[in-house]
Symmetry: C2
Subunit: 741 residues, 2 copies
């Protein structure tokens, strides 16, 4: 289709200018391209887009299609139009909709002739109140709140056709939907398959279904010689090969094929669906019921431990945010590198945060294939979404569309009402109609999949997002004191790489970083509470003023890497009481100057990515470190651990600890550990060594694993050599290993 | 109808003996009456009933009715048959059902002739497993779990027709349902009424509706000249007088009348419904959002503060249990005295515990009239109700029937999935399909009424049920340390009155109480954990061995009264962080020898009832006492408080404290307090007085309120005079009041 787009303030008006439109895309991008505007990701260029959220946008395309036969119909079908819109044909309104996630299919047959003009009028971005310009404006719509501005996302509210839109000629008798679902036997010995096929109208012809294994062999099939509007075929599959998340086994996918044959015996339409057999439950952590609860007694904390196919697994991963400010730009090639990196980081779980979009189909296809579990939130975040009739009606339609589209995916592990809705900054509760509606819809449409009203629920924890807290404690001290059932958001900020910064911060603003420049609009200053996200004051308190950009960035990356290692490894040490470690956040929608993400937009891993990937290895030697910064002569006392998430047991082995400082390497101890059961950790000795007096600015603790270099770990800490008033002789090392505490 | 009943082991058999049956009633009662068995509430007589739970019972009644006209139909309609049953006419099965709460209406017209035999076959009591004989057998049914045995309820599982059953001749065109619901304007300025009327078949005639105020004046009306199967009439009521719970205003009830007129213009059928206009919400306690939550942060505790018509009220009341072992015995006259006593005790809320039945209609009618809010649980308690398809289907039907029947009542304040389901002894979770189903059904059918999956939810507390804990602390020490959002179960046991005990414990077993006698079967020994419920060892530790039954009972009553006063008043002191105080339990289903109830079966208040009623007065002078037992010379330091729940402010006033011991009364202090805002408490001075040396066994603290004797309080404590090694002169009183701590 040959789209153009223009804007006007009054919906009754006609835009005075139409510009070429890319579909899928966003009206802002089309207008900017036509005007020759510079890249919105660079500097403060995005600020020119502000007015566009408040006008009406009219897409136009002349219809170009061959003459239809009597048995054909013409549809305008679209997977997503953002946000409120109406479809017009030659000026006549033929469809209206609020909500970007429910697909639309409009039958044009009785109305359209070639050359007729199809229009899509997109209304201004929804706002529950005219000001202030913040996320609360999204609290009466299913529009992702992040677009209204966040501490890592500029205010820029996309509008327009953001997913596939096309003119389709289809047989009058055609498939409306075809979905294969299953019920697994309790012991996984069989799957009972149900194929639900909706056909546009009863007719002559037949339905054919077959299930293929990964090699393409047909395992079962069924057919119906006649069909009505709603049809059900069934099948029985013995001993299905199970789908497993990354690190636990293969993500085996079968293929279900549904064919509609016309009365001539020809295939009229075909639908294919991948199918992974698995059972997902949220279960209580071992020991959680037994926690002593003295009278007067409240309830036990709710379950958040993932049990996949009967096996409890520790959820390792991150929070996924929109990979683009304009979701219309997203394609499979946006997702693929990011998700491949997630798999390579040993992640098994992504929380798709409720402030962002519900992703396109290719996201879920890739997660199915890569074995990445998806925690899918509905588009509610950090607001009080009041249960007005209009809002509930939109939420009902949109959530049903989301559920119906995604429930078939093997990767879909958990439905969640949205982000931090039960916290003081949102003020929703278990009684909020919107969340009771979502429970209802999830129960009605996907009862086998767990549902949380929000995250965190009681026992789970979000935050902090800093290396060092306002009270002076570092993550090294805070995390061992915490005891959450799951850490589903926690962050450690760092600057973006220097070369990357140069691509979007004007050269004259690059160094030193200052508020009021592109550093600030790209969220290095005054982004969240306190000195975020560059944390210049904190960096200087550790390292002094940096002489240049490269040093500044290196210092920040150092803290981010060690901080994230501490956070992930400490959460893993708390297994099984703790069930998940998901940092905030994985990716970003545009270039940030500093922040918590592991990967710079669009797909460049930061050093923190590698640090997190190392902390998420299935098996590793790990150390619990008391703090980051050390002085000569202090007693350095890291606790050794073996972290092991794998489904196999680990044989007995050895961990050798050495200290490297000032070019000198000292052997500290060798820990001969016993075998480990599958998915269990082991606490090892506590090293106690007095740090030598050496002229150095850092030291490293190396944990070597003879015969298994993939389990080795290195921790890099700051060292401050203080010249003593009396002369010091030789550096002295006192090595005194002790048993676990 | 002239019913008889008999039993057989095989449902295909015919009972060899039929005995007269009382309907409503229970098969056990009919059989026992026919055999001349002694009263099941006395001694251990109930033990003879055990076998009856495992046989089939067949009710029989010949049909006696006049010839029907062409426009008449004959129905067998029943409000409740316990539990699984089928209805047969002349041997042919015409209706089958599982569940005692959904009414049944069977059209006999095409089948029945006068003299035909109607039969109701009642299946054995549902059991998910053959043994052990405990409540877990109820975990796959909607049968109240209490019947399977509890620490205060013998195992005795009723079966049979337990609510109204009748043969009815009705017009072919008749009312199937008529329900008036409303939506209140946000500012209570108006109510929009919706009258839903289902008629058995479309026909000629008309529908007429009117709304009457309490004086009988018609305020609005509507009619329809024709009707279909489903009809809706609407009305608008300006400035409705609101319904208020006890202590907050009048429980104003309007009357909605629906008439079905036949085509001759005659009234064919009429339905009346009482209607109370109120809005009920669960809201966060003042300050609850602001509670400091350090990172890593979990959610805020869920809301449990009742807001009625925009006014936050403290929930005062108790846990209601079945007032009879056989619910078929319950009539309005069972409920009326109990509920009247609840109102007189200043209660405004009854929690209808999920281990028991859902009460008959008259219970809710009375609660509507008396201003008693009802927290209604579904029949799940202390089990893991697994979400099997069969169980979920039954729960779905039963819960829909319960919701549809009760949602119209003004008193219905809160739906709750059941009792203590999220605790280790039940092991259900937020993910349990049964509870997600109940949330779904409540949202679908009664979205305006709050819903809890269970009690307690996080922050609320249940227990303890003792005056003194196993660790030696008394409620006086435990409760001030507790900080629940609501205390929705807590108990303090006491023996039943001596004269009452003589009515059901054989004379030769009466004194001293011993295990292995009717004392034990009536739950004085080995009932719950530890030395419950008589607590002989604990009583002796305070009072020494009792010389006779009367002294023993008096000692136990003393502890129960002072314990309950502490529990209720301390919960009220914790307002507004604490929102409710509901003791376990209010009533009992048969005579208990000792226990937590306030009222002996069937309707005799214990002394504890008066103590609780005093502690629940809208306004009272109150004291926080350090402990029960005191010795001469000790510093007695009660904290004074004013507790005030009323909707009005309280003017400034005075509280005078005196101490009475050994016939001597000493004035301690006068507290001149400022005015109080509505529904607020005030902490007063802490008295500090050294107890005199007097030969006495008790002393009392009197809090007098000049001009308002209804606010006075008296606390009675134990005193132990220890003779000192050196002679003591005159008793010395040091009065040193201090400000609130």
């Amino acid at each position: 289709m040959n789209w153009t787009v223009g804007w006007c303030r009054d919906p009754a008006d006609v835009p005075s200018e139409f510009v070429p439109a890319r579909v899928p895309g966003a009206v802002q991008l089309d207008w900017a391209a036509a005007q020759g505007w510079p890249d919105y990701t660079v500097g403060d260029n995005f600020q020119a887009y502000g007015w566009m959220e408040d006008v009406h946008w009219l897409y136009r395309a002349p219809l170009d299609f061959p003459a239809l036969t009597a048995s054909q119909r013409l549809f305008f079908s679209c997977l997503g139009i953002d946000y409120r819109f109406e479809v017009r044909l030659d000026g006549q309104v033929i469809h209206t909709q609020e909500g970007m996630f429910a697909p639309s299919e409009v039958d044009l047959t009785p109305l359209a002739a070639p050359g007729a003009v199809l229009e899509v009028l997109v209304f201004p971005a929804p706002k529950s109140r005219p000001f202030p310009n913040d996320r609360a404006q999204a609290d009466q719509s299913c529009k992702p709140a992040v677009s209204y501005g966040w501490d890592w996302h500029p205010r820029l509210i996309p509008l327009g056709i953001w997913d596939e839109a096309k003119l389709e000629i289809r047989p009058a008798v055609h498939l409306q939907s075809a979905e294969t679902l299953y019920v697994l036997a309790e012991d996984y010995s069989a799957a009972e398959l149900t194929v639900s096929v909706c056909v546009s109208q009863p007719g002559r012809g037949s339905l054919h279904w077959r299930l293929l294994d990964p090699s393409g062999t047909v395992l079962c099939s069924a057919s119906a010689d006649t069909f009505s509007s709603v049809n059900t075929l069934t099948g029985h599959l013995g001993t299905p090969k199970l789908w497993w998340p990354n690190g636990q086994g293969d993500p085996t996918l079968y293929t279900s094929v549904v064919e509609l044959w016309n009365e001539a015996g020809e295939i009229a339409e075909t639908r294919e669906q991948k199918l992974g057999f698995r059972r997902i439950r949220l279960v209580m952590a071992p020991g959680a019921w037994e926690k002593p609860v003295p009278f007067p007694a409240t309830r036990s904390e709710p379950p958040i431990t993932l049990e996949i196919n009967g096996r409890q697994i520790f959820g390792k991963g991150s929070n996924w945010v929109n990979p683009e400010i304009f979701p219309g730009l997203i394609t499979e090639e946006t997702y693929r590198p990011l998700l491949t990196l997630a798999k390579e980081a040993h992640f098994n779980l992504l929380r798709v945060w409720g402030g962002g979009i519900v992703n396109k189909e290719s996201f879920f296809d890739l997660c199915d294939t890569l074995g990445l579990l998806v925690w899918q939130e509905f588009p509610l975040a950090c607001n009080d979404y009041e249960g007005t009739p209009a809002y509930l009606a939109t939420l009902d339609r949109e959530s049903r569309a989301i559920l119906t589209r995604l429930r078939r995916h093997a990767c879909l592990a958990l439905w969640c009402g949205g982000n931090e809705l039960f916290n003081s900054w949102s003020r929703m509760t278990d009684q909020s109609p919107a969340l009771r509606l979502l429970n209802r819809n999830c129960y009605d449409l996907d009862p086998q999949t767990p549902f949380l009203m929000t995250a965190p629920v009681m026992g789970m924890a979000h935050g902090n997002y800093l290396f060092r807290y306002a009270d002076g404690r570092e993550v090294f001290q805070v995390m061992p004191q915490a005891s959450a059932t799951a850490y589903t958001e926690f962050g450690c900020p760092g600057p973006s790489p220097a070369e990357y910064l140069k691509t979007f911060i004007p050269a004259d603003q690059l160094f030193p970083p200052r508020p009021g420049t592109a550093w600030e609009t790209h969220h290095a200053f005054n982004a969240w509470v306190g000195d975020t996200w560059l944390q210049l004051q904190m960096l200087e308190s550790y390292f002094g003023p940096a002489p240049d950009l490269e040093t500044l960035v290196a210092n920040g990356e150092w803290l981010q890497c060690e901080g994230y290692k501490c956070l992930f490894e400490e959460a893993r040490r708390q297994k099984p009481a703790c069930a998940m470690a998901l940092n905030w956040c994985y990716n970003e929608p545009w270039p940030s100057a500093a922040g918590n993400s592991l990967i710079s937009w669009p797909r460049a891993p930061k050093p923190a990515y590698a640090a997190v990937a190392a902390a998420c290895r299935p098996t590793l030697a790990s150390a619990r470190l008391p703090r980051f910064s050390w002085t000569d002569g202090e007693l350095f006392c890291p606790e050794l651990w073996l972290l092991h998430d794998g489904p196999d047991s680990l044989p007995a082995g050895c961990v050798e600890a050495t200290l490297r400082i000032g070019g000198q390497e000292t052997f500290l101890l060798a820990w001969n550990h016993p075998p480990l059961e599958p998915n269990t950790n082991l606490a090892g000795p506590i090293i106690r060594v007095r740090l030598p007096r050496v002229e150095a600015e850092e030291f490293t603790l190396h944990l070597r694993v003879p015969g298994a270099p993939e389990r080795e770990s290195v921790y890099r800490l700051q060292y401050r050599f203080k010249v003593s008033v009396k002369a010091i002789g030789a550096a002295q090392l006192n090595v005194s290993p002790t048993g676990p505490g």
